[in-house]
């Protein structure tokens, strides 16, 4: 996963979320179809994609897709 576009494609194809660039800064509560359960899918999937271990507590505190992406790609 190299870019925000890759991340959005993952959300569309793995979670079935109809998201675009316009949604990345929106509060997750207002992202259509978002479910807090997706944090758990994303933990496993992002760890597999990036090869790095993520902190679930940080992920659970993310409030936008941007926050999640930042946690996934930050070294």
């Amino acid at each position: 996963m190299n870019s925000m576009d890759d991340f959005l494609a993952l959300l569309r194809d793995e979670l079935g979320l109809q998201v675009t660039r316009q949604d990345v800064g929106v509060d997750l509560h207002h992202v259509a179809g978002w479910d807090s359960l997706y944090f758990l899918y994303l933990l496993t999937t992002l760890e597999k994609r990036t090869g790095r271990s993520l902190l679930l507590a940080d992920l659970l505190e993310a409030s936008t897709l941007n926050d999640i992406y930042a946690l996934a790609v930050t070294e």
């Binding site: 993952l10 569309r12 194809d13 793995e14 979670l15 079935g16 479910d35 359960l37 944090f39 758990l40 899918y41 933990l43 496993t44 679930l56 507590a57 659970l60």
Partner: protein, 626 residues
Amino acid sequence: MSPQTPASQTLLEWHRTGRLASCFPGMPGMLAEVPDDELASVGRLLSQLDPDDVLGEHPATPVVTVAITGHGTLGQLTAPLAAELARHGMLMRALLSAFDGYVFDLSDPDSAVYAARPDLVLCVLDPMVVFDEIPVPWRSADAERALHDKLQMIGRLAAGFERHGHGTLVLNTMPLLRRFTAQIVDHRSRASVSAAWHEANAALLRMAVTHPAVEVLDLAPLLAEGIAAEDPRLSVYAKAHLSPALLARYARDVGHLARHVKGQTKKALAVDLDGTLWGGLLGEDGPDGIDVGSGYRGQAFRSFQRVIRQLGAQGVLLAAVSKNDPELVRAVFREHPQMPLREDDFVRISANWRPKHKNIIELAEALNLSTDSFVFVDDSSFECGLVRHALPGVAVVQVTEEPARHVERLLHDGWFDTRELTEEDRTRVSKYTDDLIRKDFLETFDSVEEYLRQLRITVHVATVRDDDVARVSQLTLRTNQFNLTAARLQPGDVHDLLTDPAALLLAVYSADRFGENGLVGAIFARRAEGDLHIENFLLSCRVFSRGIEQACLSVVLKHARAERAAKVLGIYRQTPKNGKVRDFYPRNGFVHVASEGPQMVFRHDLAEIPEPPQHICMVDTIGEPS
């Protein structure tokens, strides 16, 4: 998704273009080629499908209603479950309960779970059911007490489910985690905790014996495959106490249970020979040159054959399908000293040079089964691909060049899982072999009438007894062709009907010159408003088209007249597989009176009751004490 396989890519394309619902019938064929680790992703998309959208386009799709309840967060179960059901062509209607809602769901007869009348209620138990109740500091006695209390409660919930529920309650054993046992530092006490834990799991497993409506899945063999029981982060932060991988594996077993409950259990296993049952090529290496019995690989093939034999002994019909010289093959099965499998373990050995799917079609016809009832095992990707393509309903298991993995490959899926074996299962192979002999016998006659006369068929119709309950339930689950409404009944449902004074439950036994056929049919009728309603009539595919069905109907009509019924009403509900009996009632003196969707109702006024066919000797003991 970064799908590796063409099948995953196709599925993704269906999702992107909004065609998952319209392409649903193609799902089993497509999912058969999706590797296990990509199934959950597909399942997430499938779990968002509205079942009604699929039914709108494909009204005959079987739907499984599943209620999911338990102690922890279980949302992660719906995706793999949707995928596993779709693998079998079934559509999931899921009802996910509130967090930790299982006690309320199962103890309140008015709960949403009971109201939904699900086919399956999954009550997912996890280690925190117990450890959430244990104080700190704790000793082994605290764990033992908590286990005891929970078992008592779960036992009460299971009993309540039997009283108020419909369908099957699925419990599971609870994995024991080292992060708890290792909190006890002395080995003695730690062993006590483990002992109490395993005893509690054993007691859970035994609940299936005492409660016919309950099944208990043992998670221990799944964990022994190397699956982590939990991800502590998901457990601590999200209260998701079982790992996604374990839930996915559990979902596979539930998928097979659902297939069984919906009457789609596999019945026959067709196996290739060279590279599958033995090493080497029989045609080239000769009977003495193949690998079976001795040597490293020979032992592995022998172990695999023993497992096939074990399945055959439980009613799975075995057939060999091989591109080989038939005489050589026969010689190996008769004379090879180290072969666990022998000729009489098989209902048929098809050794010829024709395409394997054609052999399977022919075999299915000879056994009066649908090809969808078959599992096919081969080591050749070419043969597997061909069968998969030609017969998408056949479950294809491709074994590898490592024979020590054959058993694991075959048993990874519970294709032949059933809830209870009956005597019928243990003698099925010889009964089917007898059927093939009957077919050969038929070919010696000029007319079918003469054949039937010489067959000397006896039919006995009797009231269903307690001993017959398991077999009658099994008939409703396994019979697809001569099954007038396809109502599937669990043993508990049949039992309830036995105690219902308005219900009339009849068992049909048959025999002929070649031997006993056993309990081959059942008739479910109900007395209401002075009429007799035949709610279902089913007959094993082994015995229909011999006049037995007409003979039974004649007996029922006479019985109705003797009971002074005004008329008899017969119901037919169309399914994808029972088109053959659509005209059963009109061909036997009934007139069509109503239709509603796939259901038709027929009436017989009891004025003229046809006699049973002359070639059948009829014994009627309806109404006699059992």
